[in-house]
Each structure stands twice: as structure tokens, then as C-alpha cells.
């Protein structure tokens, strides 16, 4: 059994990861390069009787700059060379991609050149003569592929195990470095020589059809147009949010039914037939099942959001969005690239914090991360939905939009303030960003991205929320023997905090207490209200169903869910009659007891100021953990201070002004 060790190298955005995943299937693991925060992926696969170990090097444009990715690639190839390198190239971006190729060839490691994104190149009217190209590069194997439809992989696998041809090592005859040269000047000179060589290659191997280029240029000039750019972006974002909310709603309801219905019933039956005491049943059903269900219920929304983000990113659109937003971002001292982690923050703050790693300047990274908590994460959405249905039933959609918008406005203000106060107004980075050619995202890659991030979220959030729910259940039901939840430990905490919230209009122990549990996970806010108001006791007891009937119901409701999802999908693209009216009725029905209870503790104005507080206050524990992990305690303390001071000031302001204006 032969064994060989391969490295994948190439520019960012060339489909390297898609290839890696395609080759290794699931057989891979991710780690970190020692001492660095750059991720490294290892994997295995087999071709005929050869075992292949493959490593995915970070995407780089060269390996002589000073970024960690480039250092890693250079050190790796020079100090621990693999048996072979597969250099993945974006064919439509040919010349610039070859710069890295030339550097790789200079190391002497056997290399296969893979001209990926053939379909994109073809759409741009580019035709590459692979034989001429191979000859000019010394005779190395040159293959073509199209990541998005998987063409070319088999030939690649065969080439990997085939004997490597004798090649002529290319030698660009750089003049020797002398004492008079600075390393910098010498470096620039070598870089220019490489490009001269590449220009020659291009002249001989690349044929360009003129008219095809024009179409993609036209599309781009519209997307990046001074006046149209931002509106187009807003329209796209509107569709994204619509899809996330409406298309996931049927699944959301189905999961909710699963957990509050069959799962709870089965658990209750099992436990009662085992003669377990009532408090155990309550702990398991209310504390654990319903709370975990409360988290999982939002999985469909998250999944859809990650799917759409992946599509936007892989297609190349997000780079245009970052360009278009750059002018606005620069007013806060950031640039367009910061914008992408912020957009992720609308899904979940945790991956957004980690996404700031793509920003080179450490100050820009911190400032961006400090603003991410103001990007209203999807976990807060259920709170907005319930409260807006309870207090603003006619305008619930509008209220929710106002929340998101306010978050962005506040981020802008806080960002400007922080930028001036802490970073002394220096411009934090210079924008140099590639706009990759548009390409059709590979379905497999998109699904994998969404699956991976959703899975991570479930794992992290699920474990912490389960623990938090049990903790909450304990707080609510201890000390033993209390009748009124107000007398529990939870009530005590709520009562202690409520004076601070008085000026903001919600100085009652229930609301204040829910803010505390909201620290653990924002989804917990609603489940807290449910537990506090003892909603489950007020609701009707469900009909007795047999296990078989339950299974049948689950299957039927799943089918209906699929159909409803399809309907919503269609509705998003045909702004006409929406089925949303039905949805909100059923949501209102299910939560009618909660809504009644909330009306006892809030007025519309105080509900609104409460939402403002929820929008802006401390993100959940996993987010804080991610923040500390990336930036340390000093910055995390600032983030925590921000997320207490700003929401308090804002919600007090909103409430007091509202009272003055007579909305109380």
C-alpha cells in the first residue's frame, strides 16, 4: 500500500475547500497551526491502492508577504515539503493566480496545476491552451476542472497516482542579491520578474474573446454603482430576512409541536408509570425537554440564514456588498471588510466574532467585534415576535424591522464614539480587497457550510441552555414548598434588580429576572416568562393519544410542514397575497396565555422599551466566551460595560420620552 502526502495550495476564493471536501468526503479534521490562529485542515482518501494524506493550506496570494497565512505556507513548503502540491487556480483570474504557482515551482516540489472554475473562465470568453501552458511551466501536469459541477475530479485522482513526469525546473535567472540591495527592493524586483514571465505565458496560452467580458462588467458596474449599490444591497437583505423568517416558520412550528406535544407526553407517561415524584417529572419536562426544544425550534431559521450567507459569499456578491458599504463604514473608522462579520452577527454573534479573524488590522478587529453584539442575533427574534404580537398586533412586522434598524443605528453611533475615544480617530486600515468573479456556488459546499455552523451552534447553545434551564428551574422552584414564584430565589434576584429598571418602565421582578436568564441565552427569555407565569399549568391538558397515533400525527404534520415551506418559498418571490396572516393567527393562538400574562406586567410603551433593552444588552454567555477567547479580558470588560450602559440609557430614554409624549 503506497502512501503519499499532498498539500493543496492556491489563492483565496478558488474553490480549494470545495475540492478538499470532495476528495476527503467526511474524513477530515480541523486544527490550528502551532502558535497561530489560522486553521489547518487534514484529511485522507484513497485512489486505487494508494493511501493519500492531504493538507489544505490557507488561501494565499504569495508566500513572501508578512501575513500569518503566507508565513505558514512558506514555512510548510520549505521546511516540511509534501510529496506533491496540487495548485488550484481560478482560471478566470489566471495571471494573478500564476504568481503563487511560480513561487511553488521555485521550491522544486512536484506540482499538479489544476485550472479550476473553467465554467467561469469560459463565460468570460477565456480559452486556455493547457499544452502550451504546461510546456512553458517546464512540463508539469496541467488539468482543468469545474468545481460547481464536479467535472475533472476523476482525472485529477488518476494524475495524483500516476508517475510524475520529468520536468524542466523553471529558472527565472534572478540576479544575485548584493550588499547594496535592501531586501525590500530586491523583493520588488523579483516580484516584477515573475510577472514578466507570467505575461509571456499569458500571451502564448490565453486567448480572450472580447464581447463576453462586457456582460460581467456591466453587471458589476450596476451592483457597485454609486447610487444603486446600497439600494440593491438592501433589497437583497430584505429577501434574505424574509426567507429566513417565513420559510423557516413551518418547521419552527412543527418542532415546537414535537417538543411540547409528543415528546413531553411520552416523557410524562414514562415517568409517571415509573412512579417518579412530580418534581422529577416537572424538572425533566419543563426544565429540560421544553427548554431544549425552545432552542432547537430556532434551528430552521439559523440553518436558512447560514445557507443564504453561504450562497452570497460563495457567489462573490458579499465582496461587492463590502465595497458598497465601505464609505459608510469608513465614517466609523472601519472599512468595508468589517461589514461581513457584522452581517453574520444577525444570524448568531458567536461565528461573527470568530469571523473578524479575516481582518488584518488588530484594532479594526476589536472595534468590529465590539459592535457585533448590536447586530440583533436570531435568538432575540422570538422575543420580538411574542412582544410585538402581544402589544402591537397590527404592526408586528414593522416593530421587528424597527428593532433591527435601531441596532444598526446604535452600532454606528457607538462605533463612531469608540473610534474617536479609544482609537483616537485614526483610520484603521486601507482597503485592498479582491472582488472574485461571479461563480455559481457549489450546492455541496453551501450545504456543508450551513450544516457545520448550525451544528456548532446547536452543540454550544444546546449544552449551555440545557444547563441554564435546569438552573432556572431550580431557582424558580426553590426554596422548597413555595407557592408563588415571586418567593423563589429567582424572584429574589428579579426583585433586587427591578429598581434599576424602574426608570425604563419595566421595574417588575418578572421582566428583570428574565433579563438575567437572558444572559445565558436569549432564547431563555421567553421560556423564562413561560415558567414564571406558569403557562403550562393554565393551558389545556392535551388529549390522550396512543403512541402509534402520535407517530402518525408526527408523520402527517411533517408532510404538511414540507408543503407549507414550499408555499412560503413561493410567496417570498411573489409579493402578493401572503399566508402570513394565517401564521400570525396560529402563533397568537398558541401563545395567547403568555400574551395575556405579559399584559399584566407591561404596557405597550414599556414593552417597547423592554425590547430596546433586549436588543442592545449583553450577548449570551457563548458570545462573551468567544470574545474573551479572541481578545482577552480587557476588551471583554469594555464590551460588557457597553452592553449594560448603552441599553440602559437607550431604554430609559425611550420610556421617559414616550411618557412625556403621552404614550404611557
Amino acid at each position: 500500500m503506497k502512501k503519499i502526502y499532498i498539500a493543496l495550495a492556491g489563492n483565496p476564493n478558488v474553490g480549494k475547500s470545495t475540492l478538499f471536501n470532495q476528495l476527503t468526503g467526511g474524513d477530515q479534521h480541523v486544527g490550528n497551526w502551532p502558535g497561530k490562529t489560522v486553521a489547518v485542515k487534514h484529511g485522507h482518501f484513497k485512489v486505487e491502492d494508494t493511501q493519500i494524506e492531504i493538507i489544505d493550506l490557507p488561501g494565499t496570494y504569495s508566500f513572501s508577504s508578512y501575513s500569518p497565512e503566507e508565513e505558514i505556507t512558506h514555512d510548510f513548503l520549505v521546511n516540511t515539503p509534501p510529496d506533491m502540491v496540487i495548485n488550484v487556480v481560478d482560471s478566470s483570474n489566471f495571471e494573478r493566480n500564476l504568481y503563487l504557482t511560480v513561487q511553488i515551482l521555485e521550491t522544486g516540489i512536484p506540482t499538479i496545476l489544476l485550472l479550476n472554475m473553467q465554467d467561469v473562465a469560459y463565460a468570460h470568453g477565456m480559452h486556455i491552451d493547457t499544452e502550451k501552458l504546461s510546456a512553458q511551466l517546464g512540463g508539469i501536469p496541467v488539468l482543468v476542472s469545474s468545481a460547481s459541477n464536479g467535472r475533472g475530479w476523476d482525472k485529477l485522482k488518476k494524475q495524483i497516482v500516476a508517475p510524475y513526469p520529468d520536468i524542466k525546473q523553471i529558472d527565472l535567472h534572478y540576479r544575485k542579491i548584493t550588499e547594496k540591495d535592501t531586501e525590500y527592493e530586491y523583493g520588488l524586483e523579483t516580484a516584477s520578474s515573475r510577472y514578466e514571465f507570467i505575461s509571456e505565458i499569458s500571451k502564448n496560452s490565453l486567448r480572450q474573446e472580447k464581447q463576453k467580458v462586457a456582460i460581467s462588467e456591466k453587471v458589476d458596474s450596476i451592483l457597485t454603482n454609486r447610487y444603486l449599490g446600497i439600494p440593491i444591497f438592501l433589497v437583497i437583505m430584505y429577501f434574505v430576512f424574509n426567507l429566513v423568517q417565513n420559510v423557516s416558520a413551518p418547521f419552527l412550528n412543527w418542532l415546537d409541536y414535537l417538543f411540547t406535544g409528543p415528546f413531553s407526553n411520552w416523557a410524562t407517561s414514562l415517568l409517571t408509570s415509573a412512579n417518579s415524584p412530580a418534581w422529577v417529572t416537572s424538572l425533566v419536562v419543563d426544565g429540560v425537554i421544553n427548554s431544549i426544544g425552545g432552542v432547537l425550534v430556532f434551528l430552521p431559521s439559523l440553518y436558512v440564514m447560514f445557507l443564504l450567507l453561504a450562497v452570497l459569499e460563495h457567489s462573490g456578491y458579499l465582496a461587492r456588498a463590502a465595497y458598497v458599504m465601505d464609505k459608510l463604514m469608513s465614517k466609523i473608522g472601519l472599512h468595508g471588510k468589517s461589514f461581513i462579520p457584522m452581517i453574520l452577527g444577525f444570524g448568531c454573534n458567536v461565528p461573527a466574532i470568530y469571523a473578524t479573524r479575516t481582518l488584518k488590522n488588530p484594532k479594526a478587529r476589536v472595534l468590529t467585534a465590539l459592535l457585533i453584539p448590536f447586530m440583533s442575533c436570531s435568538a432575540k427574534l422570538p422575543v420580538y415576535i411574542i412582544f410585538s404580537l402581544a402589544f402591537f398586533p397590527e404592526n408586528s412586522n414593522m416593530i421587528i424591522l424597527i428593532m433591527y434598524f435601531t441596532g444598526i443605528m446604535v452600532a454606528g453611533l457607538v462605533g463612531t464614539a469608540l473610534s474617536k475615544l479609544i482609537f483616537k480617530g485614526e483610520s484603521l486600515s486601507i482597503l485592498v480587497m479582491e472582488l472574485p468573479n461571479f461563480r455559481r456556488p457549489s450546492l455541496q459546499a453551501v450545504l456543508k457550510y450551513a450544516g457545520k455552523h448550525s451544528g456548532e451552534f446547536i452543540k454550544k447553545a444546546g449544552t449551555i441552555i440545557a444547563v441554564a434551564s435546569i438552573g432556572l428551574w431550580l431557582l424558580l422552584n426553590l426554596p422548597l414548598g413555595i407557592e408563588n414564584p415571586r418567593d423563589s430565589y429567582f424572584g429574589a434576584v428579579g426583585v433586587a434588580i427591578s429598581p434599576i429598571m424602574e426608570p425604563a418602565g419595566f421595574g417588575n421582578w418578572e421582566a428583570s429576572g428574565a433579563l438575567v436568564t437572558g444572559l445565558i441565552a436569549k432564547e431563555a427569555v421567553i421560556s423564562t416568562f413561560n415558567q414564571v407565569y406558569r403557562i403550562d399549568e393554565i393551558q389545556d391538558t392535551p388529549d390522550e393519544t396512543t403512541f402509534i397515533e402520535d407517530l402518525q400525527n408526527i408523520a402527517v404534520s411533517f408532510g404538511t410542514t414540507i408543503v407549507d415551506t414550499g408555499k412560503e418559498l413561493l410567496n417570498t418571490f411573489t409579493p402578493g397575497i401572503t399566508l402570513f396572516a394565517e401564521e400570525s393567527d396560529s402563533e397568537t393562538e398558541e401563545n395567547i396565555f403568555l400574551i395575556k400574562a405579559l399584559n399584566q406586567s407591561f404596557t405597550p410603551l414599556s414593552a417597547f422599551s423592554y425590547l430596546i433593552f433586549i436588543l442592545l444588552y449583553i450577548p449570551c454567555v457563548p458570545t462573551i466566551a468567544a470574545f474573551r477567547h479572541e481578545f482577552g479580558w480587557k476588551w471583554t470588560s469594555l464590551a460588557i460595560f457597553n452592553s449594560l450602559a448603552v441599553p440602559w440609557v437607550m431604554s430609559v430614554g425611550v420610556f421617559q420620552i414616550g411618557m412625556l409624549l403621552g404614550f404611557g
Binding site: S64, S92, M126, Y195, D220, D326, E434
Partner: protein, 82 residues
Amino acid sequence: MINKKHIPLTSAPKGKLVKLISIDGGHSITRRLVELGLTSGTIFKVVQDSGGPLIINVRNSKIALGRGMAMKLLVDLVDGEE
């Protein structure tokens, strides 16, 4: 010696070919731009300018450049088709 023909990239008309003369930037950013294909003598063009960053098309690849940086690229106008 300043050659009157040389203009900063920010003054180059959109869509017209220009030739790069020099980059007046710091070491790491200059090196980065050179490695992305902006070598002395390279012919490229500005494809978008909305008052903020520029988008240039160099060697078939589109790159967004902050305005401050773009001002430090000196170019000559070039006649003719690509």
C-alpha cells in the same frame, strides 16, 4: 523630478487604460500590491469610482482599493484598446 504626464490613479478617467509608473506607499502595502500584479509598467484600468474606494481591473482580476491608497499610485494615460 515630477513628470507632468503622471497623474494619481484617483484622477484617471473610468474605463480608460493607464500604465503604472510608481507606488508611493509603505513597504508592506506596496509589496502586497505588486504581488497582486501592480508591477511598474503594468497596464490596467479603473472600472468603478463612487467617491469612496476604487475598483480596478488588473490582469483580468478586480481589486477594490481604498481611496487614500489609490491616490498614491502614479499612472500615465495610455491610448488604444487592450
